[in-house]
């Protein structure tokens, strides 16, 4: 009777103990990107959550200890002190309401402070950024089904699925969508913000060092949603200028008419970039106005059913962000 039971328990214990080991063996801390924020905004987000978790631990840890100790200590076999009718203590009740109240007040204070610091419409924390003295660069982001169009109104260029920004300057994003809601997100770099049709939302970040990251849509928008990645390249100012110049000379022009073709539902497997000259400064506004006036790019059922069903369609290797 006893041995199999013991074996069962030890097996259970072993599997419990091996769980973190399994996780650690496969997943190093490097993979946990959110613990490696880059730039002031993302660093502030991580900073605040670490503070908040420490503050919460003041309650969570003792509660967890009690939750483990009490059932063992007062198990009937232990014959510990037993007070069957004890059911009220003013002191404990005051502490049970009071301590969490104090902690929550502190958490709320921290959070509200943090929300102002990272507010995507104008992050307070970027006021002190090294690049704050430079004029910010504006990029207009248009999410289509299912690609990202980045328009640089001041530079007169545009790209698909490739966000190129200069290092050391604040990047201000104005965002909208042609039809569906999407979420704009660059882990480690830019906060997640929804991108909505007929509306403009904003996001901002600033990076000092050249690097590349992957961004993607976070809010489901249809059958091609899982392939909505885009590369984010932070390049030195000189390289950026050179890139703008060469792109301006591109024979492809992103007019509103050309945009309407791009906005037709398309899955861009592997996020292959495309580059355009875009002298039309009003494109972004036109897209918002069109959405308000009811322009949609419908996704027929037949397309939804077909996406990624046909192996011939895929097989492209992803464009590696460089």
């Amino acid at each position: 009777m006893k041995p199999p039971k013991q074996r069962r328990v030890s097996l259970l214990l072993k599997s419990l103990v091996s769980l973190p080991a399994l996780l650690l063996s496969g997943c190093t801390m490097d993979d946990l990107r959110l613990f490696h924020p880059v730039g002031l905004v993302a660093r502030a987000e991580t900073h605040y959550i670490v503070l908040l978790v420490i503050a919460m631990s003041v309650i969570i840890v003792p509660t967890l200890v009690m939750l483990i100790v009490f059932p063992l200590r007062y198990h009937h076999s232990r014959n510990a002190k037993y007070t069957p009718d004890w059911h009220f203590s003013l002191g404990i009740e005051l502490a049970a309401w009071g301590v969490p109240f104090v902690i929550v007040a502190y958490l709320a204070y921290l959070t509200i402070q943090g929300v102002y610091a990272v507010d995507p419409w104008g992050p307070g924390i970027l006021v002190n950024a090294p690049g704050a003295s430079q004029p910010p660069i504006t990029v207009q982001v248009i999410a289509t089904d299912w690609q990202w169009v980045f328009v640089y109104p001041d530079q007169g260029v545009a790209t698909i699925d490739d966000l190129v920004v200069p290092a050391g300057r604040i990047v201000k994003l104005q965002m909208t969508s042609t039809g569906n809601m999407n979420g704009f997100y660059i882990p480690q770099v830019a906060p997640m913000v929804d991108v909505m049709p007929a509306m403009e939302s904003k996001d901002a970040f600033e990076l000092d060092q050249p690097a590349s990251y992957i961004g993607f849509s976070t809010d489901f928008s249809g059958a091609g949603f899982s392939w909505m990645q885009f590369s984010t390249r932070v390049v030195p100012q000189a390289d950026f200028d050179a890139w703008v110049k060469s792109t301006q000379a591109s024979p492809n022009q992103l007019t509103y008419a050309a945009f309407q073709k791009i906005a037709q539902p398309t899955v861009n497997f592997g996020a292959k970039p495309a580059y355009f000259a875009a002298p039309d400064k009003g494109l972004f506004g036109e897209v918002i106005m069109a959405a308000m006036q009811g322009v949609v790019y419908p996704v027929p059922d037949s397309l939804t059913k077909k996406v990624s069903e046909n192996p011939a369609q895929g097989a492209q290797t992803p464009a590696s962000p460089q």
């Binding site: 259970l12 419990l16 769980l19 996780l23 946990l32 990107r33 959110l34 993302a42 502030a44 987000e45 991580t46 605040y48 309650i59 509660t63 939750l67 009490f70 059932p71 198990h75 009937h76 037993y82 007070t83 069957p84 004890w86 059911h87 009220f88 404990i92 049970a96 309401w97 969490p100 929550v104 958490l107 709320a108 959070t111 943090g114 102002y116 507010d119 039809g179 569906n180 979420g183 997640m192 913000v193 929804d194 976070t218 489901f220 091609g224 899982s226 308000m292 006036q293 009811g294 322009v295 949609v296 419908p298 996704v299 059922d301 939804t304 059913k305 996406v307 990624s308 069903e309 046909n310």
Partner: protein, 687 residues
């Protein structure tokens, strides 16, 4: 008139055609075969054992709150299984479709499910788990326990109670039919706007989702009305407000929430329906529509809905912890206050579901702080349970084990929930798998409470306990499986993986996905132990005492086990908050009544079942735009209700002699025993 639809439409069959049947999908064909075989076995067994009449008389047409509760729970468990299978398919797809080099099977480019199918599966997973697993389980337990705990004969409105059940069943039936005829929604369980509108979702999937949701929310609204009326008006003499068990209080809070929020979602879904059927623009982006309105309406329902499910779980813990600590509940008054605080704050925190929508720091700050306040009463509840255990005499029966793991999960879910409520952090993990892991922690709290409660009250309903050995094996495997599945999801969230992806572009996360998949495997083992537990318990049927666990404190443990269909032979007089504990302390727990008075009980009626069946027909017809059938079924429902309103049947009277006879043979009065035909009051008067 109707909005132009994709594909053919005929007056007779609407959009329905043979092309709607997915006979070319091997997964669905296999599922269909299994469902047909199971249905054939069940129906065949009913005929073989000659139980068709019994099932019709004693179950389908019943208005007995306990039988309705049992049927709710059966529905909940079946849907829990289907929801779990959906979850298993999702985890497998993500494991297979990881990285651009990942292989494709069954015609999919990556993994084995194309996006079209995968998106339906997670939509179904969310919809089924919330509306057709968790809600029926909570409603079923409430149905069984509340009248027993307050010493009532039945719910305030037994006929309405059965109608609620059959409306919920109709919704579940629509979800099941959508598997084999047409498609389910791919617009997520929340119904993304404007994605759920016709331009982006021209198929019948969203309509299936919308009508299934609509029917079940109607059922839940009716149930809430019924519960509130029952708790307010039907308490036994002597049960003042502050002698009510805490579960009744939490149920009252819950149902006040339910009554106030479900109409909101009914309206929101109706507006969506008008958009989809008549081409209006409530929730479109253009033409002056405002999809933000839908998102707000949905979460004004959706967040309180979380507490609608969570508070009953808290109430269940508050019954189970004292029983197995053999001690009075600590801090009764603050428990009640905490329930109402949670319910109250629940109404004013909805916007934390869309912190990323650019509300500005003022609103985000407010909704963050408001959400954090929920942590205070929830913490109070946790402390009160802890101090109930403190200086108690604890036994680790299966329900207590579930309760303890429920509290652990509540701590983890609470910690991560507080993290998410900080919108400064939410900007990095909103829509990530971290959120998914967090709310699964929370629904597992509900799940733990439900499993605890089903094990705890099972003997009261059926007269025998569930097998403890297999119950424990089920418990341990379930806990290990949950850890394996959801801990990696927290990690993946921190690795920047978001929700609803049928393809994950980052191949470095394979090991975490494997661990999660391993957890799914362990869930299958736990499912085996669950079924084994049911089998062994049903085979052995070891009779349980009326106070089945020996340390019961509340009224339901006073009456016979299994509980007779009339609940209490004599309406009990309440002397204390923990009535049974009081009677034990005063040595009167075994005192039997010396004489019985006749009991007035309601007759069974087929009307609720017919309303439910016709609602399912209506839902199916309007989903496929078969106008004549929708109008006909709706008209039939109205006619049935009118006919029923002229029905003079006022139930029947159980005579004192019969009560005396049934009291000496409790098995004859159990809810599974067949009852003889008793003449109804109207009939008696006519004679």
């Amino acid at each position: 008139m109707q909005v132009a639809v994709d594909g053919p439409w005929s007056p007779l069959l609407g959009r329905l055609s043979l092309a709607a049947i997915p006979y070319d999908n091997p997964i669905l064909v296999t599922t269909f075969a299994i469902v047909v075989v199971l249905a054939a076995v069940i129906v065949g067994a009913a005929f073989y054992f000659g139980k068709v009449g019994y099932i019709w008389r004693e179950w389908i047409t019943t208005v007995d709150h306990k039988k309705i509760g049992v049927m709710y729970i059966i529905l909940g468990l079946v849907m829990l299984f289907r929801g779990f299978m959906d979850g298993a398919m999702m985890r497998t797809q993500q494991l297979l479709a990881d990285g651009p080099a990942s292989p494709g099977y069954l015609g999919a480019q990556h993994g084995y499910l194309p996006p079209y199918h995968f998106d339906q599966i997670y939509t179904a997973h969310g919809t089924l788990m919330l509306f057709f697993a968790a809600t029926p389980l909570v409603a079923g337990l409430g149905n069984i326990i509340i009248p027993l705990q307050i010493g009532a004969r039945d719910m305030a409105f037994p006929y309405l109670n059965a109608t609620s059940l059959w409306l919920t069943m109709a919704g579940a039936a629509l979800c099941m039919i959508s598997l084999f005829v047409g498609e389910f929604s791919n617009a997520t369980w929340v119904g993304l706007m404007p994605f759920s509108e016709m331009p982006f979702n021209p198929g019948v999937g969203v309509d299936y989702w919308m009508w299934a949701f609509q029917l079940s929310s109607l059922g839940t609204t009716f149930n809430a009305i019924n519960m509130i009326a029952t708790i307010v008006k039907m308490r036994a003499p002597g049960m003042s407000w502050f002698r009510m068990p805490v579960y009744c209080w939490s149920s009252l809070t819950t149902n006040i929430i339910g009554l106030t929020i479900f109409p909101v979602v009914t309206v929101a879904l109706t507006m969506l329906g008008i958009d989809r059927y008549f081409g209006t623009h409530f929730f479109t982006a253009g033409y002056g529509g405002n999809f933000m309105l839908y998102i707000n309406l949905f979460w004004i329902w959706g967040h309180p809905e979380v507490y609608f499910l969570m508070l009953p779980a808290f109430g269940l813990f508050s019954e189970i912890v004292p029983t197995f600590s053999n001690k009075a509940l600590f801090g009764y008054a603050t428990m009640v206050a905490a329930s109402f605080s949670i319910g109250g704050i629940g109404w004013v925190v909805w916007a934390h579901h869309f912190f990323t929508m650019g509300m500005g720091p003022q609103l985000n700050g407010y909704f963050s702080a408001a959400t954090m306040i929920v942590g205070i009463p929830t913490g109070v509840k946790a402390f009160n349970w802890l101090f109930t255990m403190y200086r108690g005499r604890i036994t680790f029966a299966t329900p207590m084990l579930w309760a303890i793991i429920g509290l652990v999960l509540l701590l983890v879910g609470g910690l991560t929930g507080m993290m998410l409520s900080a919108s400064v952090f939410d900007y990095t993990v909103h829509d990530s798998l971290f959120v998914v892991a967090h709310f699964h922690c929370m629904v597992l709290v509900i799940g733990s409470a439900l499993f605890a409660a089903v094990t705890y009250w099972w003997p009261k309903v059926f007269g025998f306990k569930l097998d403890e050995v297999n119950g424990r094996l089920y418990y341990f495997t379930f806990v290990v499986a949950s850890l394996l599945v959801f801990v990696p999801l927290f990690y993946l969230g921190f690795a920047g993986v978001t929700r609803r992806l049928d393809y994950i572009y980052n191949p470095d996360l394979k090991s975490l996905l494997w661990v999660s998949e391993g957890g799914i495997g362990v869930y299958f083992i736990s499912l085996f132990f669950f079924l084994k537990m049911l089998y062994i318990s049903l085979r052995d049927q070891i009779p349980a005492a009326s106070d089945s666990w020996g340390t019961g404190r509340t009224l339901e443990w006073l009456t016979h086990t299994p509980v007779p269909f009339y609940n209490f032979a004599v309406t009990p007089q309440i002397n204390s908050r923990d009535e049974l504990a009081w009677r034990k302390a005063n040595g009167v727990e075994n005192v039997q009544p010396t004489q019985y008075v006749p009991i007035h009980l309601p007759n069974s009626t087929a009307v609720p079942f017919l309303i439910g069946a016709l609602s399912a027909v209506f839902g199916f017809a309007i989903t496929w735009r078969i106008w004549w059938l929708s109008i006909a079924s709706l008209a039939a429902i109205v006619i049935i209700i009118i006919i029923r309103s002229f029905d003079k049947n006022e139930g029947y009277v159980l005579s004192a002699e019969e009560i005396a006879r049934l009291e000496s043979r409790p098995d004859l009065a159990s809810i599974i025993a067949e009852q003889p035909k008793r003449s109804s009051l109207a009939h008696v008067e006519a004679i």
